[in-house]
């Protein structure tokens, strides 16, 4: 009902190009590359999305990310001239500026890059898996699970260390998403995108209700929860960030490994099966990748999953629906939005800071709505 395959209907030339490619692979008469990745993208000059065009996009995104990283290190209550950022980074750590940079700004920037990439990639994978343009990485109940676990840790077990929160939130995120995945596959007909979405929403509502109920009774829980829930890149140590890094890397590797299959799934379950894809396994790997990426990112940075819904849509408008370009580009551009939001949040309300999730919403939502209005959308 809601799985509109917008990607497959929109942007005629690209869709046609992709369909042609898949069709060529599917027909036994065409003796072409049998390997699953398929041939390279046809660099048709008429399409305007040639390999060169996309490489330029990729290079541009990388440049933008590097620039924003530098800005993120430079901007703050104590400004560092942009030209000196490199010098400070390579210079001694024990000066005053060196400490600010290495203890505050670098972890913050690192977290922005990692969390942004993770959420963006998870969103792209989620949308491809469910063929639902409304799927965000929190759809599996990840944020609600993390919040619930946080509530348990603070309210029930009386935990106070920041280090402990992260692991609790991560465990909660994983547990909730496993529950959603299993419940979404119960019943006749097995797993369908709509069932998965409804199960995710139901579990999210249930956990949120409990979290809110407890936080109403216990002000201490509320206090911790409300700061976490607005999403922030600040206040984490590099050590904590590095500890969740293996999970992020694992999730990213899984995401990359199923990318060619996601291209086939975009054409429909039956076509993907006809092209030799094992849907169950790919769905499982995709879901696992989303769980790892989103769980780790949300545990450290808070529930800023909307980034994962919006950025893949924006990137799709730039690069076309080919997942092999979409995922790397999203991985570069999602942290750009997050870092930009973080920098703006530091600057606009000095000396206070506005949390990154809030700025990202005010930055991203108008863009998202403009995008919706610009494109001709498929009807439901």
């Amino acid at each position: 009902m809601i799985h509109v395959t917008e990607e497959t209907r929109s942007s005629g030339p690209v869709a046609a190009e992709r369909a042609g490619r898949a069709g060529g692979k599917a027909s036994p008469g065409v003796s072409d590359a049998p390997h699953p990745g398929g041939r390279g993208v046809r660099s048709g000059a008429g399409f305007g999305r040639s390999r060169v065009h996309r490489l330029l996009l990729l290079a541009g995104a990388l440049g933008l990310l590097v620039l924003l990283c530098a800005l993120s290190i430079a901007v703050g209550s104590r400004q560092i001239p942009l030209g000196q950022v490199l010098a400070v980074l390579t210079g001694p750590h024990d000066t005053q500026i060196g400490r600010i940079v290495w203890d505050v700004r670098v972890p913050r920037t690192l977290l922005g890059v990692l969390a942004g990439s993770a959420l963006g990639v998870a969103g792209a994978v989620m949308q491809a898996l469910t063929r639902n343009p409304l799927a965000d990485p929190g759809l599996l109940g990840v944020s609600a699970g993390a919040a619930f676990a946080l509530m348990l840790a603070v309210g029930v077990m009386g935990m106070t260390s920041l280090y402990g929160y992260v692991w609790f939130a991560f465990a909660g995120a994983l547990a909730a998403s496993v529950v959603v995945y299993v419940v979404g596959g119960l019943g006749r007909g097995g797993q369908t995108p709509v069932k998965l979405a409804l199960a995710g929403i139901a579990v999210t509502f249930m956990l949120e209700s409990v979290t809110r109920g407890v936080s109403l009774i216990d002000p201490q829980v509320l206090n911790r929860y409300r700061y976490w829930a607005s999403g922030s890149l600040a206040g984490q140590e590099t050590a904590t960030i590095l500890q969740v890094l293996p999970f992020l890397v694992g999730g990213a590797i899984l995401a990359v490994s199923i990318t060619p299959a996601l291209n086939n799934i975009a054409l429909g379950d039956d076509v993907a099966a006809a092209l030799g894809r094992r849907l169950g396994r790919i769905r499982m790997r995709g879901a696992l990748s989303v769980m790892l990426l989103t769980g780790a990112a949300v545990a450290v940075a808070g529930p800023i999953v909307f980034i994962g819904l919006v950025v893949p849509h924006a990137v799709r408008a730039l690069s076309g629906p080919d997942q092999r370009w979409l995922i790397p580009l999203t991985a570069l551009l999602a942290p750009c939005l997050l870092l930009a939001a973080d920098i703006i949040g530091r600057v606009v309300a000095r000396p206070q800071e506005i949390d990154v999730g809030i700025v990202a919403a005010f930055l991203g939502a108008p863009f998202f709505i403009a995008l919706i209005r610009r494109r001709r959308l498929a009807e439901l």
Partner: protein, 389 residues
């Protein structure tokens, strides 16, 4: 006309030819329906009932009727329990007369001033959430599209939390603020989704974007707030009927008295729009106007309900889906959704009051905790393959 017409084509062999002039076909056959006062007939599993005079007719769906009746009975039973139990238990023989001003003054005070308005506010808010969710889900043909997913209740949340934290228009009270916030957000979503007309799909997407902004704005206000303010804000955001009196129930009664008949009058349009814009247009529905009218009614319902009870989690989304599965219909049935919503909110509020002796839980906590597993259970045993929606 080509010569082919004179030759009998194979498909027409053995069939009687009808040579009567075609306008006979359009004439109402006399004799049917006019001989008896009431007529009952069955076509394709549907039972139709017709009165000869006045010319009233309709289709009867037994399962839907039974579902509605059973839900109504259950709601009435819960209402009786909520009127009779509590700190001062009253027997039914005292509580019911007290409704009409009978019985002793003490019972009258408890029933009329404390229990009845709260129960009414809960029931009516639940019914409003149910109907509004049913309209949204039918218009968009999307089971996830409910006013709390599209940012309308979150708009109310921004206004109310803004009132609590910043003191903006705090004199108006949460009720007026919530109402204004919800209505303004709805207008904003509609305007942003308008581009030579709207589509259900575009409204959903724009609603999600607006929802994101509203949630973030609320979050920002809560973070900025002092702890007691934050607690008050979260207390409202979760959906709460504690201490609701006639001042909450009365506007809701008025709103429902106007909007529910309006929705019933518009329901033929809703039924046609469920088939999609193209088909509905072909059936003579003014698509844009019909959608706008239905959205206005649905937004009005949810705005008044939110103003009275706060954004009670999950009811607008789950009540229509539960009613649909209980009644076995293709789209969320309006009446059954209303009764389901009323039962859910009333029952959950009662549970929240009575579950712990020294602690009153807000109704929104209970609806999420109980409603979600029920919906999951319905999902898991859905027998329509590949649907679940």
């Amino acid at each position: 006309m080509s010569a082919a017409r004179e030759r009998p084509r194979p498909a027409h062999h053995g069939r009687p030819h009808h040579d009567q002039p075609h306008h006979d076909q359009y004439k109402h056959r006399p004799g049917r329906g006019s001989t008896s006062v009431i007529e009952v007939s069955r076509v394709g599993g549907r039972t139709a009932v017709r009165l000869a005079r006045p010319p009233v007719s309709g289709v009867v769906r037994p399962r839907l009727l039974v579902t509605c009746a059973a839900l109504a009975c259950a709601t009435f039973a819960v209402l009786c329990v909520s009127l009779t139990t509590g700190e001062f238990p009253l027997p039914v023989t005292e509580a019911v007369p007290a409704l009409w001003g009978g019985g002793d003054p003490g019972a009258r005070l408890i029933v009329q001033e404390f229990r009845l308005p709260r129960a009414l506010a809960g029931m009516l808010a639940g019914a409003a959430f149910g109907v509004s969710g049913a309209i949204f889900q039918t218009l968009t043909r999307n089971p996830l599209a409910s006013p709390d997913m599209l940012g309308i209740t979150q708009g109310a949340g921004v206004a109310v939390v803004g009132g609590i934290v910043l003191g903006l228009g705090a004199g108006l009270g949460t009720q007026t603020l919530g109402l204004t916030g919800a209505l303004l957000t709805a207008v904003l979503i509609y305007v942003l989704a308008w581009k030579r007309g709207t589509t259900g799909f575009r409204i959903v997407l724009v609603g999600i974007g607006v929802n994101w902004v509203c949630v973030s704005a609320t979050q920002y206000l809560i973070v900025r707030a002092k702890v007691y303010q934050a607690q008050e804000a979260v207390g409202w955001l979760v959906g709460n009927l504690n201490g609701r009196g006639w001042e909450s129930a009365r506007p809701l009664i008025l709103a429902l008295a106007v909007l529910v008949p309006l929705v019933l009058v518009l329901s033929p349009w809703l039924r046609a729009l469920h088939l999609g814009d193209q088909v509905a247009g072909g059936l003579g529905v003014p698509v844009q106007r019909a959608r706008l009218a239905l959205l206005c009614a649905a937004v009005g319902l949810v705005a008044f309900a939110t103003a009275a009870a706060g954004p009670v989690a999950f009811v607008a989304l789950a009540a229509p889906q539960i009613a649909l599965r209980l009644a076995g219909t293709a789209r969320p049935p309006l009446t059954a959704s209303a009764v389901t919503g009323a039962l859910v909110v009333l029952g959950c509020d009662l549970l929240g009051q009575r579950l712990f002796p020294d602690l009153e839980l807000p109704v929104g906590v209970i609806t999420g905790v109980l409603g979600a597993p029920f919906l999951l259970w319905l999902l898991a045993r859905a027998n329509r393959i590949g649907s679940g929606g």
